[in-house]
């Protein structure tokens, strides 16, 4: 789906955020992990043309991304980004207006049903008339996701979707994400979420891709040298010296341990 060729990006303050990234991203649930300042968000912003590489280029579905206004709108219809802070994403005063924002701007005036459907998916049925300023952080995050879901994008890019959420909201969010059909590319610090959710893990460190592969493979490697910790499941699995295939969920790990004891 995406192919990056030797992509470099520098911010105005001189920070060299991406240092020659060359990678192919095509798994349905790709999770990018890395510590603060690793370049995860910068990479994500290149995938829907919000940032233009200073050197190198990005391909989407076999074609080089073009940065004229028309091409970018076409790209963003298919590739939508959800920001980490929902207040950076919400641009309209009411929930209904915000969710319908993208649709109206691509010329779809008959949006009511689609807005309701999107709000129902994220569990905000009946919130249409509510003011965005009166919502909790978790609810704002859901509105931000609904605003992207309503566009029915081919690819959804999510920047730290579980950050700042309590365990209950995090579980709800994971369920919402699991129910989404689009390809998901997610950045996160949450290693447990990454391990449970991803088909493919990309590890970034200091503007470079340092690991890429299946979670079962990547998480068994030493990630501490990149300032990351292993998921809890992996830690327990390693410390018990189990021989079975590395499970994704803690529940599955408990089953394995019980079986072994029996």
């Amino acid at each position: 789906m995406f192919r990056l060729h030797d992509v470099h990006y520098y911010y105005d303050d001189g920070t060299h955020a991406l240092k020659g990234i060359s990678i192919e991203i095509n798994k349905k649930r790709t999770v990018i992990v890395g510590n603060n300042g690793a370049g995860k968000t910068t990479l994500l912003m290149h995938l829907n043309g919000l940032l233009k590489p200073k050197k190198g280029y990005v391909e989407y579905r076999g074609k080089k991304i073009r940065y004229d206004k028309k091409s970018l709108i076409e790209l963003r219809k298919e590739v939508s980004l959800v920001f980490q802070n929902p207040d950076d994403q919400i641009v309209a005063p009411t929930v209904e207006q915000d969710v319908a924002f993208g649709l109206v701007n691509i010329g779809i005036e008959d949006f009511e049903e689609r807005v309701k459907e999107a709000l129902e998916i994220v569990g905000l049925k009946g919130y249409e008339k509510r003011l965005c300023s009166s919502l909790s952080f978790g609810e704002k995050k859901k509105v931000a996701i609904a605003g992207v879901l309503v566009m029915k994008p081919r690819v959804m890019l999510l920047d730290e979707p579980t950050s700042g959420l309590d365990p209950k909201s995090k579980k709800e969010f994971t369920e919402i994400l699991e129910g989404i059909d689009s390809m998901l590319i997610i950045t996160t610090h949450d290693m447990d979420f990454a391990h449970e959710f991803a088909n493919e893990i990309i590890v970034m460190n200091n503007g470079r891709i340092v690991e890429k592969g299946l979670p079962e493979v990547v998480f068994l490697r030493d990630l501490e040298k990149y300032g990351l910790r292993s998921p809890v499941v992996v830690e327990i699995y390693k410390s018990l010296g189990l021989n079975e295939k590395l499970p994704r969920k803690i529940e599955d790990l408990i089953k394995i341990i019980k079986q072994q004891r029996a």
Binding site: I73, K77, V104, K129
Partner: protein, 240 residues
């Protein structure tokens, strides 16, 4: 505060119906007599209380305009007419003051109905057909920007208060100047993020407005309320 109240109203009417009801009732109050004014005060007070505004808050809200109305009617009752009823207060003046009081109070009740049951986005949406789209677009974006800035102000102020920023007048002044300074910088950063967010969501110059047609039930409610307000005036004309 009013936005939060309006946002959680129990009144099941569309924004357009509420705006039309407020404007037509305002006209009816202007044309009506004292009985019309009393009818408007009763009807809209009942609607406001039914919509979820707490009675104590509503009474508090009503006392604010009294600060302006009472001095006004005192002056009117003194300067109008010839025949004195008590000390310097005149009979004609007293009548005019009473009518002015009722008219002002009923207009305020109608206005309170609008602001306690209708959010600004609903008002903008209902004005869609009679206002240029760019005006509504700017107004809606400004409104969202104000929401964000108010959030920022509360966040910064809370952080300052947590570190004794307003412990005395001098510290308070100092902290306030910091707040303005930080707010200015943050508003620039926010503006930049706002622009990126709009770009990310395919912005081509359109803001959605939910402009629905009035339902039959809403038309009947508007007609009924206005008829009740204007009816005493109609009887007056018939008798004359």
């Amino acid at each position: 505060m009013f936005d939060q109240i309006a946002g959680s109203t129990k009144l099941k009417l569309s924004g357009k119906a509420k705006v039309i009801l407020a404007f037509t009732s305002f006209l009816a109050v202007m044309l009506g007599n004292s009985l019309s004014h009393i009818a408007a005060i009763v009807i809209f007070s009942v609607i406001i209380l039914y919509s979820g505004v707490k009675p104590r808050l509503y009474l508090k809200m009503l006392t604010i305009p009294l600060l302006f109305i009472i001095p006004g009617i005192i002056v009117i009752s003194i300067i109008n007419g010839e025949e004195r009823v008590f000390w310097i207060i005149k009979k004609e003046g007293l009548e005019t003051a009473f009518n002015t009081f009722l008219r002002s109070f009923s207009s305020i009740t109608v206005l309170y109905f609008l602001i306690t049951t209708t959010t600004l986005p609903e008002i903008f949406s209902s004005l869609r057909k009679i206002t240029p789209s760019f005006v509504l677009e700017i107004a809606t974006l400004m409104y969202r920007a104000i929401q964000i800035l108010v959030d920022e102000i509360f966040r910064i102020k809370r952080a300052q208060e947590a570190r004794l920023g307003y412990i005395n007048f001098k510290r308070g002044l100092n902290s306030f100047s910091f707040l303005i300074n930080v707010l200015l910088i943050k508003s620039f950063k926010r503006a930049e993020k706002f622009s990126i967010a709009m770009e990310n969501r395919c912005y081509t110059g359109k803001i959605p407005h939910m402009d629905r047609n009035l339902s039959f039930r809403e038309i009947i409610i508007i007609l009924l309320i206005n008829t009740v307000i204007i009816l005493p005036r109609w009887f007056d004309v018939q008798i004359a």
